[in-house]
Assembly symmetry: C2
Homo-oligomer: 355 residues x 2
């Protein structure tokens, strides 16, 4: 009789980093990193497979009767629901607008579906509804359909919001992670990590005062400006859960390219840096809700950077690195002290329920 012990020696020395051999959902499965990818790749994709879903872009893109559309969905479970610079309502509007914008789409219509916990304050609900309405009006999108569900006390957490959205994509536009090319310059539209630190500063368990406000904002106007400057723009991505690190790792894997970052060029505020030092966080892994990363051919990079810097949401934009043919699939950063380090895909999220 043969026994089926698998790699007993390796198991005995196995690393505590989360792997995909779980039986239950972990908080890290929602972190936007490796474990989120595991659920998508191993559980959902095999069941849903089709060519529209396959690129795993921020939104789906398809043509109907000659018009190109983008369609996106996101649920928001951010905790706490009110935070410096926004709330779960405005965040839900901006988030879905941004997913559409990252497809190069002009957002038109959104849906709003709420799951309320029994006992949730109707005054807070009014405040959130007003915030959704204001964010939609400011962004020029219409809330055209919705849904309201209530769950018993202790089976939800105040309010969860799903927004889905539809937008139109210009025929000339061809934005996708697979279009990154070696030599592309990588631009970020502003200071990173502000949403993550703003949420952290008002968490009940670790609250501290730092004055950082969330960067939550709708980016479709900025994207429209960039596409006017460079209609051939290769890749757009908003570095939300998992931050710049997760977004760049995903693009590196999709495009089979390496990414070379220059730490000195990455815009981070003093406040975020200080908070990161105190809390032991890395700004590259913090969520952003009003920033984008763009991969632009070298010929257009300076023009696109100027367009960004001329837009109110891109004032602090910078070129932070480039795509390279070396080390495909890896993000490598030249550090301020002259060394190099691999910026790995996060396994989970430094901070659960960030959006």
């Amino acid at each position: 009789m043969t026994t089926t012990t698998k790699q007993p020696v390796l198991d005995a020395f196995s690393c505590p980093v989360p792997t995909s051999q779980h039986k239950e959902v972990l908080l890290a499965h929602g972190g936007g990193g490796r474990l989120t990818q595991d659920i998508i790749q191993q559980i959902f994709l095999p069941e849903f497979q089709n060519n529209i879903l396959k690129p795993l872009h921020d939104g789906a893109m398809f043509s109907i009767r000659g018009t190109r559309f983008a369609f996106s969905t996101d649920s928001y479970v951010v905790n706490p629901i009110f935070f410096p610079g926004g709330d779960i309502g405005s965040l839900a509007v901006h988030g879905t607008i941004n997913d559409l914008a990252m497809c190069g789409a002009t957002p038109l219509y959104i849906s709003v579906a709420v799951i309320l916990e029994e006992g949730f304050s109707l005054d807070s609900l009014r405040r959130i509804a007003a915030s959704i309405g204001e964010a939609a009006r400011n962004a020029g999108v219409l809330v055209v359909t919705g849904d309201t569900k209530v769950v018993d006390r202790g089976k939800g957490d105040q309010i969860f919001i799903n927004t889905s959205g539809i937008g139109i994509v210009a025929q000339s536009c061809n934005i996708s992670p697979q279009r990154a090319r070696a030599g592309d310059k990588i631009l970020v539209s502003g200071k990173i990590g502000m949403h993550g630190i703003a949420i952290m500063s008002v968490r009940e368990d670790v609250g501290f005062t730092c004055g950082v406000r969330s960067d939550s904002a709708p980016l479709h106007g900025l994207v429209a400006d960039l596409l006017r400057e460079d209609p051939t723009l290769h890749v757009l991505r908003d570095p939300t859960r998992g931050g710049v690190a997760a977004a760049l790792n995903e693009i590196a894997l999709s495009a089979h390219l390496g990414i070379a970052l220059n730490e000195d060029e990455i815009p981070v505020s003093e406040e975020v840096l200080s908070a990161c030092e105190i809390l032991g966080f890395d700004p590259l892994y913090l969520a952003n809700e009003g920033r984008l990363l763009a991969f632009v051919s070298p010929a257009h990079a300076v023009g696109v950077l100027r367009k960004m810097q001329n837009h109110p949401l891109g004032r602090d934009a910078a070129i932070i690195g480039e795509a390279v043919s070396d080390h495909p699939g890896l993000v490598v950063m030249k550090t301020s002290i002259g060394g190099e380090r691999i910026v790995d895909m996060p396994s989970g999220e430094q901070l659960p329920r960030i959006c």
Copy 2:
């Protein structure tokens, strides 16, 4: 100094029926009845107002470059997540397909966004993903985009799913609650109350054995048949939360018409009737997830009824009443014993978290 006591005498004798003077969300706010309408009318609509949202149809309808679209969203919080005849996954697919079908649309694409509770079984998630995939394939729609969020243990309840969907509407089609006319015959596509009783039979707290399976099913194929028979069809509505009673009351209010029902004609199975007797429920208020109500001009009523009865999902279809110019806004039923009773809009739901 004047005091601002409001209606002290009336308050002292106030009725225990829920009113809109609440400070907190009640389970009844999610029941699809009067309190759900209160939240929509008093909190959401004033903030979101626009002409596409205004009709409060099951989905939004709009034209883009000459093509008519329907767009709908629903979150599913059903408890338990597995039940006779389906699960939260298939229900989420069917529900959004049906919302689109009730606009007369051919559903094309859906999104799937899940909110998972930490500790939820990944095996159950696999089973639900498979069920979503199978339901979508069977219905001929594609899951093209999605989202995965995780909340901490005790802040959710295993899994909540949001599906949103997009479909195309024929130019000739003009279905809306406002199009009901006095004289219209009211058809129901099958036996009512089965979803509600199926869920009830597996609730932990009141479980009983009755053999009733949910009617959960996608209705767009049936609707396409009906529209071929009668392209002028006036109203379609799927009587989900709040059941036939809530759906007909909403239509009566929207169209400023009375509705006359005939209890003897309403198809209900023996099993559902027995369960209702034991539990003190009224089948008219029980949720359905694979039934539709149609308002059809008298000239087309028999033809449409036959089409229904020839479809596998409409075998037990019946004409259950008509729209009348008397008692506008009221649903009045001629009972089996010869009397008449008002079928009122439910205030809450007999059974929370039914879908």
